[in-house]
C-alpha cells in the first residue's frame, strides 16, 4: 500500500497570496493513501527540505507530492531531497501551484479549489509511480570540432590541453576563418595575424589535434559519448606527405585571375592555391572547378614544376566514419548579401565595398600590400564614408537583430584610415553606437575625438556616381539637416548572418535553429554553450553575432564542458525516457518519423535461437530525451514513457473527474 506525504509550499507570498495553502494541506489529508500533509513557507529551503526528510522517516512515507512551483525549476531539488531521505528520487511528483494556479488567478474560492484539484491529481499519479534507476553510458574521449575559425581553434587547443584527442574539421583549405582576414582587432589594435597565427601553428603542432581541412561533416549519428560521424575529406590533389610548401606551383599555374575568397574578391588567385601565406596546413589545393587539367584534360604545369612530385590529379574524396564523445560546433557566420539593399549600389559602383573588403585593402597581406587604394582607379581615397547597419536592424531588407560588431569595427577602420592616410576624412552614418564591451566606449572616443571621425546619426537614402566621386545623400537627424558628401570610397558595414547552409548542418546534427538560421543554445542565460542535444556544444558566431573576445570565451566554455564530460568514464542516463513494448508493437514506424531526436529505429526481434520472429521499434536510450511524442502517437500504446505511464495519466484524469 502506498504511503504518501503531501508538502504544500507558500513560496513566500507567491502561492499563499491567492491560494489558501493551509486548506490545501488539510484537504490533502483526506486523499487516498495520504498519511501526512503539511504546509510551509519555503519548501525548497533547508528547513523545508528537513520537514520532508523527517516526515518520510516518522510516517514511513514511500512517495511524496510537493505542491509548489514548476518541476522545471525545483524537481531536481526535491528528487535529491527524497534520495537523501532514502526514497527513490523518481517517487516524487510536483503539483504546480505557482505558475499554473496562484500566478494566473486572483485570490478567490475557485483558486484554492483548483489548487486542491491539482494536488489531488498529483496524489493520484504518485500512487502509481514506480521506482526508476539511472543507467550508465560509456564515453568515447575524443572530440570533434566543426569549423576552424578562432572559435574552433580555441576549443580544439583547450580540449587538447586537457589531455584529450581532438579532430578539427574545416571546410576551406586552411584554418584561421574570418579572423585571419582582418587587419587589426578592436579595441586594442593588435595585429590580427600576430595573435592568431601562433594559435594556428599550435593546432598543427599539437599531437593530440588532427587537422582535417578541405573536409566536411556529412552525417552524424549516435548520442552523447558515442557519436558516429561521417567526414568527407575532399580531394586536395596534392599529397600532403610530399609537399614541402615551397610554393613553386603557385607561381607557374596558368589559370590565374580567379577572385580570391580570402581577399573577399579584392584580389585574385590561381587554380592551385593556398588561401594566404600563413595558411595552416601550408599545403596548396587544386580548385578542380577552374583547373585546366580537370576542365580540359591538359596542362599539368604544377605537376612538372613540383620538385617533390606531390601533385596527384587522381586523388579522390575520402569518406570515413569515426567515433566521438562530444561535438563542438563553431561554424561561424556569413556576411549579409547587401545586394538585397539596392540603394547602396553595391555591385554597380566599384568604389562601394564591404567592410571585409576594406579590411583586405588595409591588410599588409592583402592584394594592395596594405596600401589603401580604391578599386576603380587605384587612387588613394581621401574622403571615405562608412554606412552602419547594412542589413542589421533593418527588417525591410535584412534582419531585425543587431550584428553587434559593426559599430566597433567601423570605429577601428576609421582610426586605421587616419593612421594610413593622414589627410583623409572619414564620415560615419550610424543609427546608435553600441559599444558595450571592456574598453569599447573609450575606443569609440579614440575614433571620434583623437582621429576626428565625423559621426552623423542618420540613414543614407541614396548613392550615385558623379565624375569619379560617389555622392552620398543622407540625413543628420541630430541637427535635422540633409547631408551630401562627395566620397572617394564608400564602405558598407554589412551585418552578420548565419552560414548559408547552417540549417542543413543543424539537420545533420539533430539540433534546432532560430528563424534566421542561428543555432539555438539549450538555455539563453544558463546554458549558452550547450545545445538541447546532449554532448553537442556551440561557440562563437554560429549561435549569434559575436566579436573575438566573446567567441574565444565561448569556445573555452564549450571546451570546458567537453572536458567535464570526458573527465567521467561513463555518464548517467535519465530514466524518464520512452520504451517500446515489443510484444504489441506493430512496427508501423510512426514513432520513428515523429521522434524529434532520431532516437527510435525499427529492428528485427529474434527468439532465443536467433530466428527473426517479428519487427518492432526500439528506443535508443542514450538519444531519447523523454519528450513523449512517440507515446502520444502510438495507436497500440506500445510506445510508453517511464514516469508517465498510461496508468498514471488515467489515474490523474479519474481523480479530476471524480
Amino acid at each position: 500500500m502506498a504511503r504518501i506525504g503531501v508538502f504544500v509550499c507558500h513560496c513566500g507570498t507567491n502561492i499563499a497570496k491567492s491560494v489558501d495553502v493551509e486548506r490545501v494541506a488539510e484537504a490533502a489529508k483526506s486523499f487516498p493513501h495520504v498519511k501526512f500533509a503539511v504546509d510551509y513557507k519555503y519548501m525548497c529551503s533547508e528547513p523545508g527540505q528537513n520537514i520532508i526528510k523527517e516526515a518520510v522517516k516518522e510516517h514511513k512515507l514511500d512517495r511524496i507530492v510537493v505542491a509548489s512551483c514548476s518541476p522545471r525549476l525545483h524537481e531536481p531539488t526535491f528528487q535529491k531531497c527524497a534520495e537523501s531521505a532514502g526514497l527513490n528520487p523518481y517517487m516524487v511528483e510536483m503539483a504546480n501551484l505557482r505558475e499554473q494556479c496562484s500566478w494566473v488567478h486572483d485570490k478567490t474560492e475557485e483558486t484554492t479549489e483548483k489548487a486542491i484539484d491539482l494536488v489531488k491529481m498529483a496524489v493520484a499519479k504518485v500512487a502509481k509511480d514506480a521506482p526508476l534507476t539511472r543507467g550508465e553510458i560509456p564515453v568515447t574521449k575524443r572530440a570533434l570540432v566543426i569549423g576552424g575559425g578562432i572559435a574552433g581553434i580555441e576549443a580544439a587547443l583547450t580540449i587538447a590541453d586537457c589531455g584529450y584527442e581532438v579532430v578539427l574539421v574545416e571546410r576551406t583549405p586552411s584554418i584561421g576563418g574570418h579572423m585571419a582576414m582582418y587587419d587589426k582587432t578592436f579595441p586594442t589594435l593588435d595585429c590580427s595575424a600576430c595573435i592568431l597565427t601562433p594559435k594556428m601553428v599550435d593546432c598543427a603542432a599539437d599531437p593530440r589535434i588532427e587537422l582535417r581541412t578541405y573536409s566536411e561533416v556529412e552525417k552524424v549519428e549516435g548520442f552523447v559519448g558515442n557519436f558516429d560521424v561521417t567526414i568527407r575529406q575532399r580531394a586536395k590533389s596534392v599529397d600532403k606527405t610530399k609537399c614541402t610548401g615551397c610554393g613553386a606551383c603557385l607561381e607557374k599555374c596558368p589559370s590565374k585571375g580567379i577572385p580570391s575568397e580570402f581577399d573577399a574578391g579584392m584580389g585574385t588567385r590561381c587554380s592551385i592555391y593556398r588561401p594566404f601565406p600563413q595558411a595552416v596546413p601550408n599545403v596548396p589545393v587544386i580548385d578542380r572547378e577552374t583547373c585546366k587539367m580537370f576542365k580540359e584534360g591538359k596542362c599539368g604545369v604544377c605537376s612538372k614544376i613540383c620538385p617533390t612530385g606531390a601533385i596527384d590529379y587522381t586523388q579522390e574524396d575520402v569518406v570515413t566514419t569515426e567515433k566521438f564523445g562530444a561535438i563542438v560546433v563553431a561554424t561561424g557566420f556569413d556576411l549579409w548579401d547587401h545586394k538585397l539593399c539596392g540603394e547602396y549600389g553595391y555591385g554597380r559602383y566599384p568604389d562601394v565595398i564591404t567592410s571585409l573588403q576594406y579590411e583586405r585593402l588595409m591588410n599588409a597581406s592583402g592584394p594592395t600590400g596594405g596600401k589603401i587604394k580604391r578599386p576603380s582607379d587605384g587612387k588613394e581615397p581621401k574622403n571615405i564614408v562608412f554606412i552602419c547597419c547594412v542589413g542589421s536592424r533593418d527588417a525591410e531588407h535584412g534582419f531585425t537583430y543587431c550584428s553587434k560588431v559593426c559599430c566597433m569595427y567601423i570605429a577601428k577602420q576609421a582610426i586605421l584610415t587616419k593612421d594610413k592616410i593622414h589627410d583623409s576624412e572619414s564620415h560615419v552614418f550610424y543609427m546608435d553606437i553600441r559599444s558595450n564591451g571592456k574598453g569599447y566606449e573609450e575606443f569609440i572616443g579614440m575614433a571620434t575625438c583623437n582621429c576626428g571621425t565625423n559621426y552623423m546619426r542618420g540613414r543614407v537614402s541614396k548613392l550615385y556616381p558623379k565624375g569619379d566621386k560617389i555622392v552620398v545623400k543622407g540625413n543628420d537627424t541630430l541637427i535635422g539637416k540633409p547631408v551630401e558628401i562627395e566620397a572617394d570610397l564608400v564602405v558598407l558595414a554589412t551585418g552578420m548572418q548565419p552560414v548559408h547552409d547552417s540549417v542543413d548542418l543543424a539537420r545533420k546534427l539533430g539540433v534546432s535553429t532560430d528563424k534566421y538560421g542561428w543555432l539555438t543554445e539549450a538555455h539563453p542565460k544558463l546554458k549558452p554553450v550547450s545545445m538541447l542535444t546532449d554532448g553537442i556544444y556551440l561557440a562563437g558566431a554560429c549561435r549569434y553575432p559575436a566579436d573575438i573576445p566573446d567567441t574565444v570565451a565561448q569556445a573555452a566554455g564549450a571546451a570546458g564542458k567537453v572536458a567535464g564530460l570526458f573527465a567521467k568514464d561513463s555518464i548517467k542516463s535519465e530514466p524518464m525516457i520512452a520504451y517500446i513494448d515489443q510484444n504489441s508493437c506493430a512496427a508501423c514506424g510512426l514513432c520513428v518519423s515523429v521522434c524529434p531526436f532520431g532516437a527510435i529505429e525499427i529492428e528485427d526481434v529474434k527468439d532465443k535461437r536467433g530466428n527473426v520472429i517479428k519487427q518492432a521499434a526500439r528506443v535508443n536510450e542514450g538519444v531519447c530525451k523523454g519528450c513523449g511524442t512517440c507515446a502520444a502517437s502510438c495507436r497500440s500504446l506500445s510506445a510508453r514513457l517511464r514516469g508517465f505511464e498510461g496508468s498514471q495519466i488515467l489515474n490523474e484524469i479519474e481523480a479530476l473527474a471524480e
Binding site: 510484444n583 504489441s584 508493437c585 510512426l590 518519423s593 519487427q615 498510461g646
Partner: protein
C-alpha cells in the same frame, strides 16, 4: 473481364511473380462472392470479377510475412489501403504484385438481394461507393478493364451539428462491441488494440453507449489520415451502425486542414511535418 483476370492470375503464378493470388470467387449465395486464395493455375479458374466483389482484400496482406510474394486483386479503394500499408512499413511494395481492376462501384449484398439483382444502380450500390470518385486504382502493376462512374454521388450525410450528440448516442447504444468493424479493416493491424488492454483499462467492455462512444471515437482518431473510405466497417456491422460516417468526416477535416488524402501519400499524415501545417487546435477561434 473475369477471363482476363484469370489469365493474368495464371501468368503471375506461371512466371513466378507471386506464390499466390488473392482474389474473389463465387460465394455461397447469389449476390455474394468470397475471398479466394489461388495457389495453382487450376485454382485461378475459380476467380471472378463482378459487382459483388465487395471485400477489401488488402486485409489479408498483414497475415503473411513481408517477404512472401503475393499477387492481390484490388479495386481503387483497396489499392489505397495497400498504399497505406506500404507507407506504414507493413508491406514491401516489391513483394506485392497488384492486379488493379477498374471499378465503377460494387453492390451492397443485402440491398442487392432486396432488389433481386446484381445490376449496379443507386439502389443496390454499397453506400461507400456513393462517396467514391475513383475508377482506377492508385497503386497497381496492371489495370484490367475500364469503368465509368455512373452512380449519383451521395451528399453530406452527417446530421447537423446540434443533433449529432443525440444521433450518435442512439447509434452507439446499439453497438454490441463485437469489433467486427475493427477486424475487417485492412488498416487496423495492431497486435493489441487499445480496447483490449486491461492495465490501464482505457475503455471498459461494457456495451453501454458511453463506453462504445469512447471506442469509436478513439478508433476514428486512429484512422485520421489512414481511412481510405472502403466502407467495409459499415458493411460488416451487424447492428447497421453507420460507423463510416465518422471516418468520412475525419477524412474531410484531414483534406481541409492538411490537404492530405489517405492512401495517396508516400508517408503517413501524422509522420510528416510541413512548415505551413495548420495547427487546428491552437489557432482555431
Amino acid at each position: 473481364m473475369t477471363d482476363k483476370l484469370r489469365e493474368e492470375a495464371k501468368r503471375v503464378l506461371r512466371e513466378g511473380i507471386a506464390e499466390m493470388v488473392i482474389g474473389w470467387a463465387e460465394g455461397s449465395a447469389e449476390f455474394k462472392t468470397t475471398p479466394f486464395f489461388a495457389f495453382t493455375e487450376e485454382d485461378c479458374d475459380r476467380l471472378v470479377w463482378n459487382t459483388a466483389c465487395v471485400n477489401n482484400l488488402a486485409k489479408y496482406l498483414t497475415d503473411y510475412p513481408k517477404e512472401k510474394k503475393i499477387a492481390l486483386c484490388v479495386k481503387p479503394c483497396d489499392s489505397a489501403s495497400v498504399n497505406v500499408l506500404i507507407a506504414e512499413n507493413k508491406v514491401l511494395r516489391e513483394n506485392i504484385y497488384v492486379i488493379g481492376l477498374a471499378c465503377g462501384g460494387v453492390i451492397d449484398p443485402i440491398k442487392a438481394a432486396d432488389a433481386g439483382t446484381c445490376e449496379l444502380s443507386d439502389a443496390t450500390a454499397k453506400y461507400a461507393c456513393l462517396h467514391c470518385v475513383h475508377d482506377k486504382p492508385e497503386v497497381a502493376d496492371i489495370v484490367l478493364g475500364e469503368a465509368e462512374r455512373k452512380l449519383t454521388p451521395a451528399g453530406e450525410d452527417m446530421p447537423p451539428f446540434e443533433e449529432r450528440r443525440k444521433y450518435w448516442e442512439k447509434e452507439f447504444d446499439k453497438c454490441v462491441r463485437c469489433y467486427a468493424c475493427r477486424q475487417v479493416c485492412p488498416n487496423c493491424y495492431c497486435e493489441q488494440c487499445f480496447a483490449d488492454r486491461t492495465d490501464p483499462k482505457w475503455t471498459s467492455r461494457k456495451p453501454t453507449a458511453g463506453e462504445s462512444w469512447m471506442f469509436h471515437a478513439v478508433r476514428v482518431m486512429h484512422m485520421a489520415g489512414r481511412c481510405v473510405g472502403c466502407g467495409e466497417c459499415e458493411r460488416v456491422c451487424p447492428k447497421s451502425i453507420p460507423v463510416e460516417k465518422l471516418s468520412r468526416e475525419m477524412a474531410k477535416y484531414v483534406k481541409d486542414i492538411y490537404d492530405y488524402t489517405a492512401g495517396m501519400g508516400e508517408k503517413p499524415l501524422l509522420g510528416t511535418y510541413k512548415d505551413e501545417d495548420y495547427d487546428a487546435g491552437v489557432h482555431e477561434e
